[in-house]
Amino acid sequence: MSGHGVELAIVTTLFVLVTVLGFVAARWRAGAGLAHLDEWGLGGRSFGSWVTWFLIGGDLYTAYTFVAVPALVFGAGAAGFFAVPYTIIVYPMVFLVLIRLWSVSHVHGFVTPADFVRARYGSPTLALLVAITGIVATMPYIALQLAGIQAVLTAMGISGHLPLIIAFVALAAYTYSSGLRAPALIAFVKDALIYLVIIVAVIYLPARLGGGHAVFAAAQAKFAATPNPADGILLPGSGQLGYATLALGSALALMLYPHSVTGVLAARDRGAIKRNMAALPAYSLLLGLLALLGYLAIAAGVKPVATGATLTALDGTRLGPKTDGNTIVPLLFDHQFPSWFAGIAFAAIAIGALVPAAIMSIAAANLWTRNIYKEYLRRDATPAQEARTSRWASLVVKFGALLAILVLDPQFSIDLQLIGGVIIVQTLPAVGLGLFTRWFHRGGLIAGWLAGMLGAFWMLWNVPQAVVTPAGVKVVREHFGGSAFALSKLGLDTGNTVYVGFLALAVNLVVAAVATALLRAAKLPDGTDVTGPADYLADRGDPRVVDLTRNHLPLGNLRA
């Protein structure tokens, strides 16, 4: 069997294994039956510390992590390392913020962040905006997972879309059948594979490539040879503000993504979440090591796969063949490891794409069901109807993402995700701050959201994608070329860039605050808040917290 044949055999075997697991998961710790949205969409809200660790870890560290972050480090150097501070920042915030969402959601039976907004502000409109933002932001994120699988297939020399379609049909089928339990169970396999692969890679590869110093020297030589002043193994002076704001903005976004909320709400009690916020940084360490694979790829002389197209500037200059940076890590494994180990690494990436894709589609489906279908289409929907609608919606969401990846250029996967992050962070005032204060007027929040979205799109529109050549800067695309906005466009005399989401959030907050003051002065009616201060602190055992775990069979008990 050829090297690629061995890889394909291993990937296929492991893929079939997790598909079987996905279907079996329906019976794992099954409660009142999947006919209730709490069961299908939140796994019965019963996950203890261990399952939550795997679920949230599988949720947040995606194929994007394994493929795009090292690709970014490979291409730009230090700037790509933002993923590390980003995941350092997110856990303390979740510890303080989402823990309150867990409590209030368990007292009131909320399934989505928009459910909370609906109850907190008595505004179906604001809830609808939060729900739509969540769905729109999640779609490209799911598509990004597919780009991860696609990169693996390309590295194995497989062309055509059929394998990707088969993988996604399998994923769609077991998510439909098992709900959140499927990704929770598959996450165990995914993490075991990923940890194995990364630990072997970071021990074996640097030694093989001449040690850390040699690896960084190779990277430094590569960046010194490019005419681009923004790359290098350190940040350029003008890149530091962008680095910090991207890390902070991405962390805020991650906390607000519907799928993060789904992972947190599925936990059994507050303690399970808090313990996890201390244990989840183990993944951050893994992510940091993964990012460094970008440098190992440079030292190993990996060249990304050419897409066949030619990169051409808007002025007609030919800039050489277009390449798919996402293939860097798969190619590194393909070149440096025996094919059986490369096969395991590829399977890890592919399965790593399936877990978050499943959770994300469930989260988006829950938003659709709870905040659009039940709110506007069928107010008297029973829990069984809700669960059925959600299952169908998860299918629609996934096929939408599949279509997006078949039509769009995979090179833009990271930009797509960054745009999603820019959008979702606009729900921070309503969801994140709403957990602490009811000061904002619902109308003010709607105005702020509008201003933030308009600002975000205006800025994204004004971010060109440029390539620095010896002959000067050549613009490849005029609009939506990334999420680093040049402050000089606002008339500031600086070379600094700032993360679009961060600046748009600032606009959002200012408008929301001013509008709130005006609406309060005008004494316009504000919505009714049906939550009370103590709801945000309730824990399992509180009589108001419905204990769904009581109905559960004591099967596969993994609680810590």
Partner: protein, 89 residues
């Protein structure tokens, strides 16, 4: 805060016969400020944007940020333990 508050104590609030399990004290603990430490450590890049000193074959920029990860774990654990100890009744 709440428009529907009738004034009567709700479950979990002082004065209500059933205080249930309320994680109130951990919320106000001064230990929570510790969670700011890892944030501040990474959000100001001029603090660590240099190559020297190297460690384990990595420039300072890289190992410093990786080293903040265990610091954030310790901070989170301290806050968690402090909250639990005080919250125990």
């Amino acid at each position: 805060m709440s428009d529907t508050d009738t004034g009567a104590p709700r479950p979990g609030e002082p004065g209500h016969p059933d205080r249930g399990r309320i994680d109130r004290r951990s919320e106000r603990s001064p230990w929570n400020w510790l969670l700011l430490l890892p944030l501040l450590a990474v959000l100001y890049p001029p603090l660590y944007n240099r190559t020297d000193p190297w460690l384990f074959g990595m420039p300072f920029f890289y190992w410093y940020q990786l080293a903040v990860i265990p610091v954030s774990v310790v901070c989170t654990l301290l806050v968690y333990r402090a909250g639990r100890r005080k919250g125990a009744r």
